[in-house]
Amino acid sequence: MTRLFVSFIGKNLLFIIGFFAITNLINAQITPAEVLERVDANLSANTRVFVSEMTIHGKRFSQTLQSKTYSAGNSKAFTEYLSPAREAGTKLLMLDDKLWIYTPSSDRTIQLSGHMLKQSVMGSDLSYEDLMSDTKLTEEYEVVSMLSEIYQDRKSYLMELVARTESQSYARRKMWIDAEYFVPLKEELYAKSGQLLKQASMSDLKQIQGRWFPTQMVYRDMLKNGKGTEFRILSMEFNQAIPEHLFSKAVLR
C-alpha cells in the first residue's frame, strides 16, 4: 500500500503538495523538536547508500564527478568515484575524524589529518564532511527559534539552530523546512562569529523508502566568488545492511 502511494506521489508531486498543504495547517501546533525529528526521519538513517553526481564549477572549467557512497551515521563513510575515468576507482574512507584516500594511480592509501575533512573537496563548495557524513540535527543542534514563513510559495518553517558542541563545523544554521514534507528547502550555514559561510538550496524532492529527500542541491561557499556546486542524488537506499569490511581500511586496496 505504502509503496503504491509512494509511486503515486512521485508522479503527481504538484497535486499532492497542494493536497497536503491543508493537512499541515491543521497540524499547526507542531513543536520545533518535532520538526527536527521529522527532518531527521527523512534525511538521516542508520545507513545510507547513494550514488551521486557533483558538478563543480571552477573559474575556468567545470566537471562532473560520479560517486557511490556508503555511510553509517556521521562517523563512518566510504565513497568510491565512478567517473570520470581519471577519478574512477578512487576510494575515500572516513572513520570519525580520520580520512583515508586510495587512488589507483598511486596504488597508495593516503591519510588526511583531521582538519582536512573540513577542506573543500576538489575545489568544490563542499567539504569532505559535508559530502560524506550524515548529521542528525536532533543530536547535534538545538532549536533557538522557529517561524512560519512562505519560501518560494511553499509554507515552511524557518528554524534557527545552534550547535550543541563547539567542534561542529557550522555553529548556527538557518533552515527553511517544508512544512509539509519536512525536508529543508534552503539552508544557511553560519560560523560561530555569525558569518554566513555557506548557502544551500534543495529541490527535486523524491520519496525514497517512505522518506522525502531532496535529490538536487546547490551549495555555495559564500566567501568565494564562485558559481556554486551542484549535487544530485541519482539513487539512494536507506538502512541497508552495509558489510562491515566497507568501513575498514581493507576496502581501500
Partner: protein, 396 residues
Amino acid sequence: MKLAIYIAFKNLLGAGLRTWINVLVLSFSFVAIIWIKGIMLGWDHQAKSQLIEWEIGHGQYWHTNYDPNDSFTWDDSHASPSDTLLNAIKEGRYAAILVAQGVIYPEGRMVPVCLKGINTTQQVLKIPTSFLSQEENSKSSAIPVMMGAYMANSCQLKEGDQFLVRWRDKDGVFDAREMELVKVFATPVPTVDAGQIWLDCSTLQNMMGLNNEITLLSLPSNESNELLFSNEFQFKSKEFLLSDIEKMVQMKSKGQSVFYLVLLVLAMLAIFDTQVLSVFKRRREIGTYIALGYTRSEVVRLFTIEGGVYALLASALALLYGYPFLLWQYRNGFKMPVDVAEFGIAGSNHIYPLFSLALILGTFLLIAFTTLLVSYLPARKIAALNPAETLKGRLS
C-alpha cells in the same frame, strides 16, 4: 729606522707632484675601501638591527612545536604561559604573539595569510600595536587589523577597507568575520609585512578559542629568564634568529672583496711604477748613500720605507678629506641612488655606514703592508747593484 723614515719623508716631499699623485691615489683607495666597506657593514647592521627592532627582539621563546616556515605546525604550537609571565605580557614587557593560518578575501580574491595576534601593550617591537587597541576602534564591529605597506599594496587594500577573513579555530572549525584595516605601516622588514595580518592578541585568542595561549614571545633584552617559562617554550637566541641573514652577509662580502682587491692593485700600480722609476733614475743617489756609509740592504730598506711613507702620507691626506666625508656619511647616511618607495617597497632610502676602529686600522694595515711590499719588490734590485757603478749613474 727613525733616520730612514726621516729621509724617506724628505725624499718624498722633495719629489713634489709625483709623490702627491701617488699619495692621492693611495688615500683615495684608502677612503674608498673604508667607505664601501662601511656602507656594506652599515647595510648589514641595519638589516640586522631592523630585524631585531621589528621582528625578533633580543631573542625569542618559541613553542616547542613552532616552525615559522611550516604552517602545518601552527595548529599545535601554542600554550598558556605562567601567570607571572602573563602579567609581564599585559604590562608590555614582552611582545607575545599567537600565530594562526587564515585566508582573506579582499574583493572576492583569495589570499592565504598568516594571522599574528600581538599584545597591544608591547614595547619590544616597533610594530605600531597601539593602533589595534579596542577602545580606539570600538565603533566598528569589524576586527581592527594592521598590515605592512607591501602586503596592503599587493592586496590592493588601504586604511579603512574591510574584508572577510576565514580561519579555523582550535577545533578545526571554520569561522569567518569582517576585518577592518585600521593601519598600514611601513616597515623595512619583509617578514613582518608580506603575507601577514596583525591584530590584537586577545582578539585572535578569542577567535581561535585559545584563552591566553601564545606561540612565541620576543624579549626586550638578552635575558633568557628560564624561570618564567614552562618547558613548552624553547629559547631561541638572537644569534640563531639572525643566522640566515648572517649567511647572506658572508656570501655577499666574498663578492665585494674583489672591489677592494682591484682598488688596492690600482693604488699599488701607481706606487710600483714610481718605485721602478726611482730605482732606475736614482742610481747615483743610491751610490751616494752607500758612499756615505749605508749598506745596500739599508738602502733597500730606505726605499721600502719611502713606499711605506706613502701609506702614512696617504693616511694623513685621507684623514684630511676622508674624515669629514665619512663623518658626514655616518651622520646623514648614504642615500640610495634609487628611491625605494617608488617600487612599492617600504624601507629606508638611506644606508648608515658603519666605521669601526677595526675596519679603519685593518684597512690601514692592509694598505701599509701592500705598499711596503710593492715598494720592496723594485727596491730589491738595489741590492744587486754595484755601488761603484751606481755612483757614475750609468745603466748597468
